[in-house]
Structures are given as C-alpha cells and as structure tokens.
C-alpha cells in the first residue's frame, strides 16, 4: 500500500505543478486583488466580466456612492453614461452592473445584492431581450457565473474556475504567458476581442469594433455580408417567454424598486434579427411595472432596419442608445 501511494504521489508531480500554476498565476484574476482590471482579457485569458464588475462595485461603491444603475447584457454598451447622465440629476453616480450573456436571474440577484448591502438605487435602466428573459438560472459556464458575494456559492464558483483552467487551456495559457505569441492551435486564447471598461462606471466601450469601422469605412459592411444577413421584412414574434419563474424574479425586482423609490425604465432592446417580443410578455411586463415604464424597441422599426446601426448582428451602436434615451425621456414614444 505504501509503495503504491508513494509511486502515485511521485507520478502525479506534473499534475500538482499544473494545479499549482492556477494558484500562482491566477489566470482569471479571481483569487487575489488587482488594480486595472478594465480589460476583456489579460494574458490572452478572457475574464469573467460578471465577477469583475461586481468586484469593482464592491471596492468602489463607498468612494463613488453609486446610485444609478444599468442592468443588462453586453448590448448595454449601446447606451453611454454621458447620454443617460443628461436626463438624471447632476449628482447621479452611474454604474454599469452588467455582464456578458446576463439573464433575469443575474439582474434580479444584483438588484437584491445592492439592496441587501444598503446600496441606493435612485435610477435604473433595465435592458432586456428575449434571451435575457429566457434564462432564470445561473449559467454552468464559469465565464458567466456570478460573483459568489451575490450568489453565496463560493466553493462552486472557484471549483468551476479550476475546472475551466485544467486541460487544453492550461497548455495554451502557459505557452502564451511564456512566449507572448498567439499560435493557431490556441482555441481558448483571446487575441481579438477588444473591449475596454471605464474604471469608474464599468461602462463598456467596443474599442475593437470602432477601430475596424474607422479603418474600413463603408467596406466594413460589405466585408461582413455573411454576418449582416438579409432579413425578410415580415414581422415575426418570439414565443411567450415569461412564465412563473420569470414572474417571480420580475416581481422581486419591482418590490425593491418600490421600496427604493427608484425611477426606472425597462427597455426591450432593438436587435438585428427584428424578432419582436411576444405581446403576451409585454402585457405581463406592463402589469408588473406599469405601461409607462416599459419601452419596446424590438421588431421591425427605424433602428433595426438600418444595418449601419450595428457592429455585428448582436450589438447596436451608441447612436441607437442615444436616440432611444432621447425618445424615452422626452416621452416621444
């Protein structure tokens, strides 16, 4: 028995080294404290922006006294803080409490978290679409997992990170870290995404897209005809998505907004696919939040018709967000 254990321990030395590298390098920047985490990737490693966004909020809430929040997924980068600020009191302090592939579960948990940690929500922009409403559970993927301070699930979070790290990714990561060279075999190393985050507001800026549009001009759209596919101009609808689980989360959000006396706007975002959120869902949202707080920009409309309003088929540009805010706050809808 002793012989076996000893042999196994010796044989496994490379495995300890690999596991050890996770704790030494902290590739996802989740184990130790860091400054300047306002990047989408460090050392080629795509970071969990949901975790980092929460970390930044926790660290800075006292300093900046955030009281106005944007909730939603990466499409929130279509709304700029300076555009929203115009419609708020000059003292309002904005924070983008957003995440990639954010869902209703995440939005509700974050609003709860702010409320439970004695935060103030004077203003809120809740940015929704079909996919955001569809998901009511935390994702199993590490990169979309919430900060454990929000979910109170510390062990599963760090376990999931280690699980994601071990395997092919480890080899790619160590290679990239040592030689700082991107090689074609590196499937998990991100050398393309270029999104920067404002250190105070956590506002996302798609720097990469902006650079590409600047350099390519009108050719940007011609070069991406496969992404900007033809649409048939017939209005189609998503199937109803708001069921019992969604209703519970939405009512929870509404209760906190009521208790905080929040001035909120709920926006159904204009997506390139032009599929409209189902009328039944809009009715349910109206019933919970009141018709005057729901603004539906999904489907075929002035924003979705023009493909130059989009970076690709998923994210719309700042001018769209700018006009939507103008429409909402000037009651032009």
């Amino acid at each position: 028995m002793k012989k076996f254990i000893l042999k196994l321990l010796l044989f496994s030395i490379p495995i300890y080294l690999v596991i050890g590298s996770f704790f030494v390098f902290d590739p996802f920047k989740i184990l130790y404290s860091y400054n300047n985490l306002n990047q989408s990737a460090i050392d080629g490693v795509p970071l969990n922006n949901d975790f980092l966004g929460t970390e930044v909020y926790i660290n800075q809430v006292k300093q900046y006294q955030y009281d106005s929040f944007v909730f939603g997924n990466s499409r929130s980068m279509g709304f700029r803080s300076k555009d929203w600020q115009k419609y708020l009191k000059s003292t309002a302090s904005i924070y983008y409490f957003v995440a990639s592939s954010e869902n209703l579960f995440g939005i509700s948990k974050k609003i709860n978290f702010i409320n439970n940690t004695n935060g103030v929500i004077k203003n809120a922009l809740v940015l929704l679409d079909y996919n955001t409403l569809y998901q009511t559970k935390e994702s199993n993927k590490f990169h979309n997992k919430k900060h454990p301070a929000i979910t109170k699930k510390w062990l599963p979070f760090y376990f999931s990170a280690l699980d994601d790290y071990l395997g092919r990714f480890t080899i790619e990561y160590i290679d990239f870290k040592l030689f700082n060279t991107y090689r074609p075999y590196m499937k998990n190393i991100d050398n393309k995404t270029d999104v920067s985050f404002d250190p105070q507001t956590n506002e996302w800026t798609p720097s990469g897209f902006n650079k590409q549009i600047e350099s390519e001009g009108q050719l940007y759209y011609k070069n991406r005809s496969n992404i900007f596919y033809e649409r048939n101009n017939l209005q189609s609808f998503h199937p109803p998505v708001i069921e019992q689980k969604q209703l519970l989360l939405l009512k929870e959000i509404k209760a906190i907004f009521n208790s905080q006396k929040t001035n909120y706007k709920i926006i159904i975002m204009p997506l390139y696919d032009q599929i409209k959120l189902n009328d039944k869902d809009i009715k349910k949202l109206n019933n919970i939040f009141g018709e005057s707080n729901i603004y539906d920009f999904s489907g075929i409309n002035e924003y979705t018709k023009d493909m130059t309003n989009y970076y690709e088929d998923s994210h719309f540009k700042n001018n769209v967000g700018h006009n939507i805010l103008n429409t909402i706050y000037n009651n032009q809808i």
Binding site: M1, K3, F4, L8, F11, P14, V18, F159, L162, D163, D164, L166, G167, R168, F169, T170, I171, N188
Partner: protein, 474 residues
C-alpha cells in the same frame, strides 16, 4: 458524476484513501462506506431517483429470500413473475412510455384514425437499464437455483448500487460481484496498478478518440442531406469508432475503478472490431449484456439446439429486444433486427463457433481473415447508421447518400480523425491478447512511464468540457 469530470477526480482519491487506509481491515465498514459512496455518486446527479434504487434493492432482497424459502412451486412461480413485473415496471414507465404512446398513435393512423397524442416529458433515471438487468439476473438465478439468495442486506444493497458499475455497467452477475462483496478484501498492489492503467486507457479512449471523432460525426449526421457521399463515409466511420471508444472507454474506467477497490471485474470489450464474423463480434462487444441476453432470453427461447427456423426466430427476437434495450425507438429496433439478420448466413453455414484465431501471436494475418474482419466491420458500421440516426427515414436518407459518385470526392469535413483511428487501431492490434493495451509489464520502466505521460498529456490536452457518455441514455 461523470468519470471524466473534475468532481470524480476528487471523489475517487477520497474514496480510495478512506476505503483502504482508514477502513482497510474492517470489511463490514468498508461495505457500509461503499454503499454511502455509491449513493453520493448517484445522488449528486439526482437524489430523488436514489429512492428508486433503494426500493429496487429492498424488493429484490426480500423476494430473493422468499423464493428460497417457499416450497410450493405454484406460489414460487407466482412470486417470481411478480418480481419480474416489479423490476420491469419502472424501466417500462420511464423508458418506454413515450415509445408506446407514439407506437399506438402510429398504429391508429395506419388504420385510418389520425389522432394527435401528446407525449410526456420524462426524465430517464441514469443507469436504470443496467441495475434493472442486474437485479433481474439475480432473481432469475435464485429462482432457477443457480445461486443462493443473499441474506446479507448490506452486501446486496452494495451489489445493486456499486458505483463503478451503477450508471453504465458492466452488468456483473451476483455469482461474481456479490460473492466478492461478501468476502474480505486485501489490498493487492498489482491489481490496483492494473486498475490505474485501465482507467488511463479508458480516459484516452473517451476523451482523445471518442470526443474528437464525435465533433465531426455529429456535424455529418446533423447535416447529412447537404453533404457529399465521402462525408457520409467519414461520418459513419467516425461514429463506428466513437461509439466503441465511448463505451469501451467507460467500461475500462469502470473496471479500473473496481480494481482499485479490490474487485477484479469481467472484461466487457475484447477488441470487437477485429472479429471475423457477427457471432464473434457479439461475443466481444458489451460482453456482459450480450451474455445476459444469451442466458436469459436466447437460451430460454430454445437457443440453438433446435431447427434452423426456430433458431433464426430466437436470434431475431433476442436482437430485437437488445435493440429496444438500447433505446425506445424504431431505429434501435431496426438496428437490433439487422444484427440478427446478419446471423442468418452463419446459421445455415454452421460457422458459429468460439474459435478465435485472431488472438494468435502473429502480427500478420492471412488475406482471408483480413477480408473477414473488414467485411464484418463494414456490416457493423452499416448497422450503426440506424443506431445513430434520428429516425428510420433519416437513416435511409443517410444510406442514400452513399449511392453517388461523390463518394470518390475529397470529403468536405475534417479528415484528421482518420489519423486518430489508424493510431488507435495499431495500438489495439498490438494489445489484442491482453485485457487492455496498457498491460505491458515486459517493457522497460522508462518506456512504460513515457507512454503513461504521453497518454496523460493527450488526455489533458483534449479535455476541457467533459461530455457525457453515449451509453448513459440507455
């Protein structure tokens, strides 16, 4: 909990250390611990379905004892059939309800009644087909007095839920596993090391070969109507090796884990793709299941000691049931029957025998044997189309894709998997006399460790997002 997950990589060493280092000399406590570990292993997937396993274990334990005590043959027979019904009811309910509903609906539409019948969303309890067959074999063996009924409730519960074999077999008989559970176990260095090697080989089969081939095979089978003939060939070739490496990989890990806990287990795959005919193939593929069907279906039906027509009927019925065991769908039924049909020429030529020349030591084989291996492989691969397809129509459309000149064109899908297959076949051919190819004690230590580390590196490189095993859904 998947064998190829980080959770299991943590779970197994903890179980191993407690089992041997803490409880090593206390057999009773070892069995209690094995039962608890098995329930945790299963319960982490779904605690509710654990109740089903406990119920199954309890019923079969009681019935086993009663069957032995009752002298009245009629009463005995009645209890036996009751136990069979109780065992099969959850399996039918969970696995075949929708199939029966759909079949009924199809039947009605055949006679002119077009009715819309809604199927139910039913979650299939993991491993139900496996542990049900395990307990069925126990009840049948007790009834036919091949074995004595277990009087040790703890041992019996461990037998039913033994975690290395709980989800996807091997379906080990009580005469083998229960006997081992009842005996005291001593740590055996050679057995443990061999178990480690077998786990390594199983992980290699699953993560490196099966999961790599699965990517392309899935693309082809999902989009085959838009693909050229040579893609269809690649698709089925990849799936043929994917399903083998997936299931044999699982079996190897399962057997390896059993060995770590001191249980030498039966061999479940014996290099089946080197078989010279279909009979030999089924003696080497999923051996524990094939033997189960042989002993509890084929032989009771009359086996081969009868006229050819009856013999053929017995074969077809056995394979049809085997097909349905794999899945509740017409595709599985056709797959089973097709394998049965493959037997017919062998019956008429009376060439079903256990002769197995391929295991001789020579590396080179005769052209005749080579052609026999290839033709058997082609037949098996062809049958897998039905196994993999979404429906019979889908399978026929896939087959239709072969009948074009585009089978000679360069495939549009990735062909890198062919290199994996060639390397894998060479390793298997070289190791075909052994239980698994990593039994290579004669090689110098430096070479052996070189091979272990190389396999470990490949497993590590190809791992990441663990995927489920195909046989889990059975």
């Amino acid at each position: 909990m998947l064998f190829n997950s980080l959770e299991f990589a943590i779970f197994l060493p903890i179980v191993f250390i407690i089992y041997w280092l803490v409880l090593g000399k206390r057999h009773y406590l070892q069995n209690i611990f094995l039962l608890l570990s098995s329930y945790i292993f299963y319960g982490l997937w779904n605690w509710y379905f654990l109740i089903l396993i406990i119920f199954n274990s309890l019923i079969n334990f009681i019935v086993g004892i009663k069957l032995e005590k009752i002298d009245n043959p009629l009463l005995r027979k009645g209890l036996f059939f009751l136990a069979i019904i109780i065992n099969l009811t959850p399996l039918i309910l969970f696995k075949y309800t929708n199939f029966l509903i759909e079949s009924f609906s199809d039947l009605l539409s055949l006679v002119g009644f077009n009715v819309h019948i809604t199927t139910l969303y039913i979650l299939l309890p993991l491993g139900i087909s496996f542990y049900t067959f395990k307990t069925l074999s126990y009840i049948i063996d007790v009834y036919t007095q091949k074995i004595k009924a277990s009087t040790n409730i703890l041992s019996f519960f461990v037998y039913v839920s033994f975690f290395p074999q709980l989800i996807a077999g091997p379906i080990e008989r009580a005469s083998s596993l229960l006997t081992q559970i009842n005996k005291e176990r001593k740590f055996n260095y050679n057995l443990t090391v061999d178990g480690m090697r077998q786990i390594l080989w199983g992980l290699f089969q699953k993560i490196v070969i099966a999961d790599t081939l699965a990517k392309t095979a899935n693309i082809v089978f999902t989009n085959h109507t838009n693909m050229i003939g040579s893609d269809h060939i690649i698709g089925i070739l990849y799936f043929t090796f994917q399903i083998y490496c997936d299931f044999a990989g699982y079996s190897n890990i399962s057997i390896g884990v059993s060995k770590l806990l001191g249980f030498p287990s039966i061999q479940n795959f014996n290099y089946p793709y080197f078989s010279k005919n279909i009979a030999e193939f089924w003696n080497k593929w999923h051996i524990s299941l094939s033997h189960w069907f042989r002993d509890y279906i084929f032989i009771p039906l009359g086996g081969n000691r009868c006229k050819n027509l009856k013999y053929i009927r017995n074969i077809i019925v056995t394979f049809a049931l085997s097909g349905l065991w794999h899945g509740s769908g017409y595709t599985y039924l056709v797959w089973g029957i097709l394998n049965g049909i493959y037997y017919i020429p062998l019956i008429f030529h009376k060439i079903i025998k256990k002769e197995n020349n391929i295991t001789n030591n020579s590396t080179i084989i005769s052209i005749k044997k080579f052609l026999q291996i290839i033709s058997t492989f082609v037949m098996i691969s062809f049958a897998w189309i039905f196994f993999r397809a979404e429906s019979i129509t889908d399978a026929l459309l896939y087959i239709q894709g072969f009948w074009t000149t585009s089978i000679f064109e360069k495939p549009t899908v990735s062909t890198i998997g062919i290199i994996f297959i060639i390397v894998f076949v060479v390793i298997e051919w070289n190791g075909r006399h052994k239980e698994h190819p990593l039994q290579m004690e004669k090689l110098p230590a430096i070479v052996r460790y070189g091979i272990y580390y190389a396999l470990l590196a490949l497993i590590f490189f190809y791992s990441g997002t663990e995927s489920s095993f195909i046989y889990f859904k059975f």
